[in-house]
Symmetry: C2
Subunit: 108 residues, 2 copies
């Protein structure tokens, strides 16, 4: 039913689609975890890293981008932001519901 | 101390700055309240309406933009999205803390 058997999700489904390279899926963990994940990607040679988040994690993705660009990697800038609506299967009812998503492209 | 004496705020401070025309500050109310507020502005002749939100209300601002552009006003499009960091005085500790913000410009 799901490709993330390691932990149950309630409303954010952070890893539903196959993971793309240079993409960090922001979920329920503390903001700094994702900041460090982006920094690691950049230090490994990525010029562009994309943050993706759904539902309530959207605010955290914005936090990650801000903490990173204002404090930890001031040479990294927000290159583009897009928002969208995704259909997810509710784990509670089994029906489909719409959830907003955000994609923040960061790069040097 | 505050210019919004009518209701106490905990973490989102939706109306701290002077209100700009054509700007909807998204806070803790239900998403549809803000969707209707934008629709009202557009029906009153505004070509561009800006959604602003801080902290956890950011996800709701994205929801408002999506519900509006996908369901209620399909001629309205997201024109630009910007994110920023604002300094707010914490109502709990009195100290300054950083909060992420989003600005979503909607227009025909």
């Amino acid at each position: 039913m799901s490709n993330q058997p390691e932990h149950a999700e309630h409303e954010e489904h952070e890893h539903m689609e196959p993971r793309e390279p240079n993409t960090i899926y922001v979920g329920k963990k503390p903001t700094m975890n994702y900041v460090l994940a982006v920094l690691t990607q950049i230090n490994n040679g990525s010029d562009v890293v994309t943050l993706k988040a759904r539902g309530r994690a959207i605010s955290r993705a914005v936090d990650v981008a801000q903490v990173l660009t204002k404090r930890f990697a001031t040479d990294v800038k927000v290159q583009s932001i897009s928002i969208n609506t995704e259909q997810v299967k509710s784990t509670m009812t089994g029906g489909m519901s719409n959830v907003s998503s955000i994609e923040i492209k960061l790069g040097k």
